[in-house]
Subunit: 194 residues, 2 copies
């Protein structure tokens, strides 16, 4: 017996993710997740990033990055990535397959540039400071320094991650697993064996 149905509204996976964000607020690390990409040589890359909120009127997740980072090289063209987000308090995992778009200073769309500015404005001083450091990942003390300036640094980019596949696993005493999959303009909902 399968429990499958279609929906044109927001999907169950994202609704559950929003609930998990609330339920896990007590943990400082609840906004950290792992983002997997594929490098130019075809091997996988994985790193912890900080969730910076949802894109307005879209189901996109926002993260920030330095345009000089390896992550940026792997994500410079629109591409696919996978999020693994484990909430330690409620013991549940979300795996989101996403399309990634980067908003850099070269962006032409005024709405996206405004979004980049809004995310920058919301950052702590400590988070901002890093965009004025030497190139991340270069040998210590070497690497380019970004040009000083009073506005948004050219090293600052926002990544928009738009999910089309959300696999939600709950590790309670009775384990459950649910899949939300976007296809042909609809979210398809299905319960899976854990």
């Amino acid at each position: 017996m399968t429990d499958q149905h279609k929906s044109s509204g927001p999907c169950e996976g994202l609704a559950k993710l929003q609930q998990a964000l609330k339920k896990n607020r007590r943990d400082a690390h609840h906004r950290y997740f792992q983002l997997a990409t594929v490098a130019a040589d075809g091997t996988p890359r994985n790193r912890t990033v900080v969730f910076r909120g949802f894109a307005p009127q879209e189901d996109g997740l926002l993260v920030i990055t330095d345009t000089r980072s390896e992550k940026m090289t792997e994500l410079s063209a629109p591409c696919r990535a996978e999020v693994a987000w484990y909430f330690t308090h409620t013991r549940e995992q979300f795996r989101l397959r996403v399309r990634v778009n980067a908003i850099t200073p070269d962006e032409q769309d005024a709405g996206l540039l405004a979004l980049r500015k809004r995310v920058w404005t919301g950052l702590s001083d400590a988070a901002r400071e890093q965009f004025f450091w030497r190139s991340p990942g270069s040998p210590l003390g070497e690497g380019e320094r970004p040009a000083a300036g009073t506005g948004l640094p050219g090293t600052f980019a926002v990544l928009v991650l738009r999910p089309d596949y959300i696999d939600h696993l709950v590790l309670a005493k009775v384990q459950t697993r649910h899949l939300s999959r976007f296809d042909h303009g609809h979210w398809h909902e299905q319960s899976l064996n854990p």
Copy 2:
């Protein structure tokens, strides 16, 4: 000024990882990390797995998997993966590029089969039980059931992850980043800009 040197012993990254495991023992989730692979279609996959200890006399990390899982399909041949392991208490991240080998019931090497058995013996009843469930990821209530038996189930496999590149980032007030890279029979150690 770079701080680079060679070593033929165990690397600094693994020594730091062992320290982090001790320092974060208070957290039930300190043994959870995220493992990124590449699917047959070239897109990345990412999931949370549980660290099951180190391989004896080797620097390999052990995790377990179900031979019927998608993870197993992606890792059936020796291949590359990347671990992202964030320790929430000490606020440090390890990224390990690894070669993966799976130990399945078809394994011919007696030492590796003994390791598979040892890992099985160390599991909790709850962890063992899952290998007797229907196929993970199949629609709820469908999917094959493994054959019942008293010995190790044929669905049980151990993955050995051998790192050759460890990027250790500490998010303390003063951030530090250190790279251990195995090349030509030696570990090369270097401090990087965070």
